[in-house]
Subunit: 346 residues, 2 copies
Amino acid sequence: MALGAEQGMAGLPTITAVAQVAGVSVATASRALHGGGASAATAERVRLVAEQLGYRPNAVARALQGGTIGQIAMIVPDAANPVYARMTSAVQHELAADDRHLLVAQAQDPADVAAAIGRFGPSAIDGLIVVPLRPEQQVLEALDAARVPTVVIGSLPPTAVHGAVGADSRAGVQLAIDHLVAQGAQRIAFVNGPVDTTPGRMRLEGYRLALDAAGMDFDPAHVVAADDFTHAAALPAIDALLERSARSFDAIVAANDLIAFAALRVLSDAGIAVPGDCLVVGMDDTELAQMAIPSLTSVDLGAEARGTLAAQQLLASLRGDADAISHATVVPRLVVRESSTRRDRP
Amino acid sequence: MALGAEQGMAGLPTITAVAQVAGVSVATASRALHGGGASAATAERVRLVAEQLGYRPNAVARALQGGTIGQIAMIVPDAANPVYARMTSAVQHELAADDRHLLVAQAQDPADVAAAIGRFGPSAIDGLIVVPLRPEQQVLEALDAARVPTVVIGSLPPTAVHGAVGADSRAGVQLAIDHLVAQGAQRIAFVNGPVDTTPGRMRLEGYRLALDAAGMDFDPAHVVAADDFTHAAALPAIDALLERSARSFDAIVAANDLIAFAALRVLSDAGIAVPGDCLVVGMDDTELAQMAIPSLTSVDLGAEARGTLAAQQLLASLRGDADAISHATVVPRLVVRESSTRRDRP
DNA sequence: TTGAAAGCGCTAACAA
DNA sequence: TTGTTAGCGCTTTCAA
């Protein structure tokens, strides 16, 4: 059994091996396996041999031949961050349904993001989803150079040819503030993340607009920005806020849930009760929000929806739907929980 | 300029285009780009042309030729879960340092895990990291069939030829209980996840052993298992525990942090103070643990370390280090915080 | 319906 | 140092 030996020797069985064993040409084998025009009899025989041999088509060879590899790459600032983890998970689900694989990379700084994009040579991926914290020129150029359909989760200059799925965080802050006002808040402080990021800029804008709309004055002493959108970075910022403002606020809007938790901690340590003495609203509505005590009111910016939409847009564009690429926005939704609800005190 | 037109037409510039423009053979071009033996002059010229043309080597073609594609796949139960997100992040970092890409897939049920493994045809990946909740026969078979170096995060039958990096969750529970005993706990309840999972089984075992070691009786009324390792699934389980045990415990060990948060919630709703009336210890030491109020004492089972180790083991084995594949165990570490520390009441 | 052959882009023998 | 050639595994013309 020379043939058997040949395939058993090294590596995986190739279509050539299958063809040989089945006694047909590789072309016929390919057609039989692929569904093309082959007599029912041969098709069946080839399929059987393939199964016996444990043949699996070589994805790389097929990709080289066909020009498409069935992989999408996604670049997030931090895969461990619950928000991005959820986005990633949503994207993966969507891709899996289309039988594609997801490559995940992490990069924060524009230079690193650009490098990460570049690291995927063209032909290694069919498409790209990028979540840039700071979509600077550098990043946009790398996106163009990538030469694959791309969707950005976040904002993009209106002139950009790539797809985009954004959260309307301005409206999100608005929701939070309207709610707090309705709850009777008089002076609403804002704990932001870095202002040189898109989310940071948008949320600050939303804060000013919403205050304006509510007829409240903007007081610089009531605004503080953490160096990062993290719990650790927010703690000192909130300490500073407390000191600087002489505690003259009765509500806090935090730029995300992690920062909101930092607020809960600092307030708790300072003996300020939530929601009794101060209301708190976060953003992103991570799973943590409902698990906290008090549970955290939070604005759902649709992390999951953004991931799903981005994936769908990309897939549609890959299928050749020219209109698929667009600039979409997900509508935020306020989820009210304990941290912003004044309890009755019977 | 026929050549220019040729490359500009369709698709990306190939090495053939570079070679033509530079006036050398493709072999020479390849060598010049690749570092092989080419005269400094030609090398420089070719490199220049490549740059001008924006040439990027086709990863797929290279993979087909070389047999290795520079990609590792990782299958986790749930990418959105903070523990797995951290593991994934750690793995990604390790791989990036070795200039490899990470494919992420999600699957919980053994059948789905097996299918997910199979979906990566061989040659599509160089290696595989799997985090199976239930490492049943089906999964092990799929692992064997994958025909690539594999490391399992979790436990594996000692006979398995794959690498494994496990957490010693038995010892982890031991740590928790020893600590609680030292804090004066008399009756320690245990809220587990599903017992038909590896973690569930191990943790229950650890609980019994630790009680034994501490000279405490095992009371079935003090043990309850949630249907899943989630907050939502744990809430009713803990309700049941409270009822069934008539609150006759003064400490709770939870099988993970999510379950611990559920405990905090249920206790809080029942008017039982933590740590005043009841101590609570979680497991996994997720970021949430330090953010909670009270902050949660938790056993760090080394999610990040397991990810890093698994990646390192896999990379070493890919580099041809035959001894790389082993069954390793990460030592758990107790992180004491407020939820288990009786405060002095001055 | 089938087979022979070309070619996807690249690297690596082997010659020159 | 360079060029020629073969071949990785597959799909797809083009003939038969």
